[in-house]
């Protein structure tokens, strides 16, 4: 069964360092999402792509976070510089289209710890 792939699974970094997370969606899924899940809370959307275009990045802290999906397939989320408050699980999800009823399939996530 096709899955959303994410790497790394775990990342430990020091404050002010740069980190990057990678996501490979299910083949054929045009829509890709990055969510941030703080421990004990539900995920919150950071950025949504339709193919290679950003559809929604209203909650992305653009002073330190960036995301790209250059060829409309895999995606990278970057944080520079990392801050203590960025410690969280970063989840990637993909869906076939942007219609609300479409199911989003999630990857296993990258757990970031900032020391």
């Amino acid at each position: 069964e096709a899955e959303v792939a994410q790497s790394p699974r775990y990342k430990i970094t020091e404050k002010s360092q740069a980190v990057a997370f990678w996501c490979d969606p299910i083949s054929g899924h045009a829509t890709l999402y990055w969510y941030r899940q703080i421990l004990g809370q539900g995920p919150e959307l950071l950025v949504q792509f339709q193919d290679e275009s950003v559809v929604d990045d209203s909650q992305l802290p653009k002073d330190r976070f960036s995301a790209e999906r250059l060829k409309g397939v895999d995606s990278t989320l970057k944080i520079q510089p990392a801050e203590l408050g960025d410690s969280a699980m970063y989840l990637c999800a993909s869906s076939f289209s942007t219609r609300g009823k479409n199911i989003q399939y999630f990857g296993a996530g990258t757990r970031l710890s900032v020391l």
């Binding site: 539900g42 995920p43 219609r99 009823k101 399939y105 999630f106």
Partner: protein, 114 residues
Amino acid sequence: AQTVTQSQPEMSVQEAETVTLSCTYDTSESDYYLFWYKQPPSRQMILVIRQEAYKQQNATENRFSVNFQKAAKSFSLKISDSQLGDAAMYFCASASQGAQKLVFGQGTRLTINP
């Protein structure tokens, strides 16, 4: 803006018994969808069940069913014949037709007692 509230941080149930997880939501959209996702420890989040708001009939998937009360903006999940593998965090979420991003509740941690 959409909001989703789960008022039960933790629930527990005996194996083979039935448990109901609560969820309320608020939205100004007329066309929207509601979901329950399950997040097992250290594993990816998976969809349990989905409800289209325009459908009056409650969705059912095997041992999982929902009680969708549109006027009350309530969307509870019932798990029948609970199994050890049902232990997980359960998240209620909503999405509008126009903006597919999921808005999640805070989650309910479900423990199954053998």
